[in-house]
């Protein structure tokens, strides 16, 4: 992995009062993103607006595409053209992007998509919050593949995790999603942007060998192939079809097995390196509240009250939602009575927690169907009932 310091041109060093949507754009610019292709959709538009006003000053290009199908396609193209690329969207736009997310996975293209989630399905609640695209992020495109999804709980984390998203996407050559939501997207808070020399940026894994020996999908010792960009004389081919190391289509079960297994393994085998969680008071806890994004901030109040009432309550916050911290959940489930999973959907990540707990503890879903955050009392009630 080749790391460097952020290009100071894109880094707006200082303390700012800004919303999560703006912070997504600032994180991307700090990470070296110089291409934005997007389509307006509430509640994510402020990110696109921020890009459109900032990117001309840092030597990048902004284009408002004709739809989300075009946005994501332009990103894959831009990435192969040599730029770090990002788009931002919300539920309906995320649905439209799914086919080409599969293409990005298949072509092993680094790019970042932020989803400022709103209530669904369909047009749902354009201006109100939701966390209902978590499973779509994991499984939304057809076929088997792995992606990475992060979940910030504040504007500061929108900045920090967008940089991380770019770094992971370059490292593993995979689309990375920043799964935020309307609340965090529109929440104004202090965002501290450090000096450029304090921001670590992962560089693309550029191929440097002889031109005629380049194979676009031949894995290096770390399991990730080297990349080149257009115009450099490699005259390479890539396709969304099942392909071999040359990037040539091979339509049979044997090649499919190698190709698809590689897409899965490069993330699965590195899950421990990718996954980031934040844990508090889990040792000795009777019950753990597991949450992510805006819901973890609401859960704090319930957890504080439970502790006041003498219930030993721990918390686990997922900063990385996909890949999922399976081992950690299994280990934790052996030691606690219950894991409570509040989330603004009908119980999506709950299913994963329930699966990983292997019946070693109770797993309780505290669903909210969107439009608002939980009432902390609902989470508190679930905690109390779990330890009864």
């Amino acid at each position: 992995m080749k790391k460097s310091k952020a290009d100071p041109k894109g880094v707006l060093t200082g303390s700012h009062f800004m919303d999560g949507d703006y912070a997504l754009a600032e994180g991307a610019l700090a990470a070296g993103c110089r291409f934005f292709g997007g389509y307006p959709i509430t509640p994510s538009t402020e990110t696109a607006e921020r890009f459109s006003s900032r990117i001309p000053m840092v030597g990048g290009v902004f284009i408002q595409m004709e739809d989300e199908l075009g946005s994501i396609a332009s990103l894959i193209g831009a990435s192969w053209g040599g730029l770090k690329a990002m788009t931002v969207t919300s539920g309906p736009g995320f649905s439209l992007m799914q086919e080409n997310i599969g293409l990005a996975c298949m072509m092993e293209t680094p790019l970042v998509i932020a989803n400022v989630q709103r209530g669904g399905p369909s047009t749902g609640l354009p201006t109100l919050t939701g966390q209902q695209d978590m499973m779509q992020a994991r499984w939304g495109s057809h076929g088997d593949y792995e992606i990475i999804a992060l979940s910030p709980d504040s504007p500061q984390e929108c900045f920090d995790l967008t940089i991380k998203a770019f770094n992971l996407s370059e490292l593993y050559r995979v689309p990375v999603f920043v799964m935020t939501d309307e609340c965090v997207g529109h929440m104004h808070e202090k965002v501290v942007i450090p000096p450029a020399e304090e921001i670590e940026v992962v560089e693309r894994k550029w191929y440097e060998g002889p031109k005629d020996k380049y194979l676009p999908y031949k894995c290096d010792s770390d399991g990730i192939p080297f990349m080149v960009k257009t115009g450099d004389g490699y005259r390479f081919h890539t396709t969304g079809l099942t392909h071999d190391e040359r990037g040539y289509p091979i339509i049979n079960a044997e090649c499919q097995k190698v190709n698809v297994q590689h897409l899965i393994d490069k993330i699965k085998n590195n899950a421990d390196r990718i996954i980031e969680t934040e844990e508090e008071q889990i040792d000795g806890a009777e019950v753990v509240v597991l949450s992510y994004g805006i819901t973890s901030r609401v859960a704090v109040k319930a957890v504080q009250q439970a502790r006041k009432e003498g219930i030993k309550t721990g918390t686990l916050r997922l900063l990385t939602v996909w890949p999922f911290p399976e081992k950690r959940i299994e280990e934790m489930a052996k030691k606690v009575k219950a894991i409570i999973v509040p989330e603004i959907n009908a119980g999506q990540v709950f299913l994963e927690v329930d699966r990983c707990s292997r019946n070693k503890c109770k797993v309780v879903s505290v669903p909210h169907l969107g439009g608002w955050v939980h009432n902390p009392d609902d989470i508190l009630k679930a905690i109390k009932e779990a330890v009864k």
Partner: protein
């Protein structure tokens, strides 16, 4: 015995010979358009490292896989926006979209008109065989009225697109149409398009022998070329609104539009330089 080395086809160096034979049917016109393209590159002595091919899905979508340039075989309908990103990220490259009528004008129609509207600097070669051939000859947005297709078994009653008219109306700055019979003209149009900047659209009518011709009892490739020969008329600068193709009817071909207008990046750089002055960092250099 003195064995003679077989002569090499001059276009070989532009093809991925390790992928030949190709998948196209005998009598299909796609290969002839590929030959015209390769010939255009050869005549232009183009820097092959600098030209990028993007295809979508379908029979013509397979072109990217056979041409030995930086080449992308993308998703159905999205070759044009993919090419848009490629071009904007790397303005020094010349980006060519090579795909079929279903891909470019059917599922990808929205991207086609918007790329034309922006005068995005790219060449779009649209091979029009009047039907969805890869999937078995279904009716398309370009199928002439009354022509038979596998999903129009009683003949087509939907009005087809007149592609040159559509692209000109949307803002394309170079628009030409030829048939697979007009190989030298196709080559010349591709050469012209490669040498200019802006959105260039070249429609090439080609025979689909296996599906379109068979369903319509039009004979083989030769019969279709005969039809092109009998019914095509070169009318440069013809009014594009008069170019609708009727079933086995007249085929007006030629170069209809060739005008200058700032490309997307030119317009962006000029406009933002004017508005932002020194704060603006002009982006990229197009060739």
């Amino acid at each position: 015995m003195n064995k003679k080395q077989p002569l090499k086809n001059p276009v070989e160096k532009i093809l991925r010979m390790d992928r030949i034979p190709h998948i196209w049917c005998p009598g299909c016109g796609i290969g002839t358009v590929v030959t015209s393209f390769a010939e255009a590159l050869r005549k232009e002595e183009a820097n092959l490292d600098n030209i990028v091919i993007v295809s979508g899905i379908g029979c013509t979508g397979r072109v990217a896989g056979y041409i030995k340039l930086d080449s992308f075989h993308t998703t159905h309908g999205r070759a044009v926006p993919f090419a848009t990103g490629l071009k904007l990220a790397n303005p020094e490259t010349k980006v060519v979209v090579f795909s079929g009528d279903g891909d470019i004008a059917g599922i990808g129609g929205n991207h086609l008109i918007h790329a034309a509207r922006r005068n995005m600097d790219m060449v779009v070669i649209c091979v029009n065989n009047f039907n969805y051939a890869m999937t078995g000859g279904q009716v398309a947005a370009t199928t002439p009225l009354d022509a038979n297709a596998s999903t129009a078994p009683f003949g087509n009653f939907e009005y087809p697109f007149n592609l040159p008219y559509l692209v000109e109306a949307a803002g394309g700055t170079y628009v030409a149409r030829w048939t697979a019979l007009h190989l030298r003209r196709v080559t010349k149009s591709i050469q012209e398009a490669l040498n200019r900047r802006g959105f260039s659209f070249i429609e090439v009518i080609t025979p689909c022998v296996t599906l379109y011709a068979r369903r319509n009892r039009l004979g083989d490739g030769l019969n279709l070329l005969k039809y092109y020969y009998d019914k095509s008329e070169i009318k440069h600068n013809a009014d594009t609104k008069d170019l609708t193709i009727s079933y086995q009817g007249e085929l007006i071909v030629g170069k209809f539009v060739d005008k200058e207008k700032p490309t997307f990046l030119d317009a962006m750089n000029q406009h933002l330089s004017k508005k932002l002055g020194d704060k603006f960092q002009p982006y990229g250099e197009e060739k």
